[in-house]
Amino acid sequence: MTTLDTTAPKVVKKTNNSGVLGDRIFKGTAFFFAAMVLVVLFGIMLLLLKEAWPTFAHFGFGFFYHSEWDVVNNQYGALVPIVGTLVTSLIAIVIGVPVSFGIAIFITLMAPNWMKRPVGIAIELLAAVPSIIYGMWGLFYFAPWFANSMQPIMTSTLGNVPLIGQFFQGPPIGVSIFTAGVVLAIMIIPFIASVMRDMFEVVPTALKESAYAMGSTTWEVVWKVILPYTKAGVIGGIMLGLGRALGETMAVAFVVGNSLELNTGLFYPGATIASTMANEFNEASGLHMSSLIALALILFIITFVVLSIAKWFLLRLEKVQEGSKT
């Protein structure tokens, strides 16, 4: 930067002094604010680490694997919220990925042209609905419906399967880890589906047509041509959805039941990191507060890693596509 300025011809400085100065100020300001994005990230990390330190110092590594969360006796272990966060997000991915895949196939390959845009926008509007609305709908409409109609069916069928049967047990109250997972699935579908759709649309037509010409069915084109071609992008989209699901707060706080007991049954109420924070933060102080901030730090690091992986996959695909264009 400085070397450029010194080698600039002196004539320019004489004739257009204000321009050079203005340029420097403008570029400097832009640089300052770009750097601010980094400062925000490191600020979050450092400040949370500082506030969470008393917890890590007090409980040590045990904070991660102890399951009791006892406000009265000031004993905190993060196992239940961590497991709850991972399990609800896993359910969301298991349900959300096939559905998003189907939606992306429908929009790119099946829908007539006049239908593509409206359906695409409608699905994307699902992402615009505020998370608290999902919470209200989930608590007052979805959870009761699920407890009355779906849950008995699942318990009497899947519940009897050996090994996985124990997961499909629980009281018929509607608010549970599983309900939270389903609501999360609906919330992340638009993100995954729109990434998949964008990916599918850039697959070169020649590739698809060659496969059709060889006698492939539409499904075979999807499975053997489109999917391998867009693999990295699809994984990136899924990780992006996972990142969203992990940190989702309000919807989960409404439907997860907020119980900090460890159960194997998915139909029992549970808690996630975010829901625990939403519930307890404003009444917390001292070590309790520090433990909640420690939870926030854990959540931030998990989502940071997941989103970084997502970004890495998406960048890789961009590079592949740029390479194939030239």
Binding site: V37, G102, K311
Partner: protein, 279 residues
């Protein structure tokens, strides 16, 4: 069954499944919106816009919460937009593919999807705790942090769409770099940049988690940003989970209002974006 028939059957089954899940997705949107309209619409009346949030068990309105949400959102956008635009400008106009701007781009994309509740905790420890009280400013700053990544991303994308020849033509006339950016590039990318700001506004208007730890809530009228200030999302959260019927009804009315504003903004944003890209 011949192999050909099996292949056709698999194809048929999977395509029908795609159709079914798309219908399911659309049904979910319809279900949520119909619930919102049927529950929310009946409780929207004049009092909602003229009266304050009531004490438990009595009727009232949402005036202070609507006002609070507008004020907090306004300041959040006011703080976040310039930062986002300048950072996006740097990435597009000056940064190129240097290591610094690649890092900023990467971190920005991560922040774009970072959990909003963590931002709430961050602002709590940064501002609320040292000050000793919740405040509207803390809420606005928390939301501004959520605005920045959205605006950075859209600004960079929109500025990159402006043809290089336009910049070169202006530079050839002797315009300094900042004039080129401010009066040529910005002008060409204006509608796209506005879209970004609209999308960011729509995103933060319904955000609840960060406000819970920053602006909190206020049952009374307050226009003082240094105090806790009422806002729609937190009112919805507290009233929906309360045992009082009046409060729950107000929560539904508030939910409908906030969703309608957010969806409207989204559709307007998409419409402007479509207009600018087809031009």
């Amino acid at each position: 069954m011949s192999k050909y028939q099996t292949r056709k059957l698999i194809n048929y089954f999977n395509l029908v499944a795609s159709l079914v899940v798309t219908a399911l997705g659309l049904f979910m949107l319809a279900w949520i919106l119909s619930v919102l309209f049927s529950k929310g619409f009946q409780y929207i009346n004049w009092a909602v816009f003229t009266q304050m949030t009531p004490p438990p068990g009595s009727a009232g309105g949402l005036l202070n919460a609507i006002f609070g949400t507008l004020v907090i959102t306004f300041f959040a956008v006011l703080i976040g937009t310039p930062i986002g635009i300048m950072a996006g400008t740097y990435l597009s106009e000056f940064g190129g593919n240097s290591r610094f701007s690649s890092t900023v781009r990467f971190i920005n994309d991560v922040l774009l999807s970072a959990p909003s509740i963590v931002v709430g905790v961050f602002v709590y420890t940064l501002i609320v705790e040292p000050q000793g009280h919740f405040s509207g400013w803390a809420g606005a700053i928390a939301l501004a942090i959520l605005v920045i990544p959205v605006v950075v991303r859209t600004t960079e994308d929109m500025l990159k769409l402006v043809p290089v020849q336009l910049r070169e033509a202006a530079a050839a006339l002797g315009a300094p770099r900042y004039t080129v950016t401010l009066s040529i590039v910005y002008k060409a990318a204006l509608s796209g940049m506005i879209t970004g700001v609209l999308l960011a506004t729509a995103r933060i208007m319904g955000e609840t988690a960060p406000l819970l730890f920053t602006a909190l809530n206020n049952q009374f009228w307050s226009s003082n940003m240094n105090e806790p200030i009422a806002n729609m999302p937190v009112v919805i959260y507290q009233y929906a989970l309360s045992p009082y019927e009046d409060w729950q009804n107000l929560a539904w009315a508030a939910a409908l209002l906030i969703t309608l504003s957010v969806l409207t903004m989204n559709i307007i944003a998409r419409y402007t974006l479509k207009g600018s890209s087809s031009r």
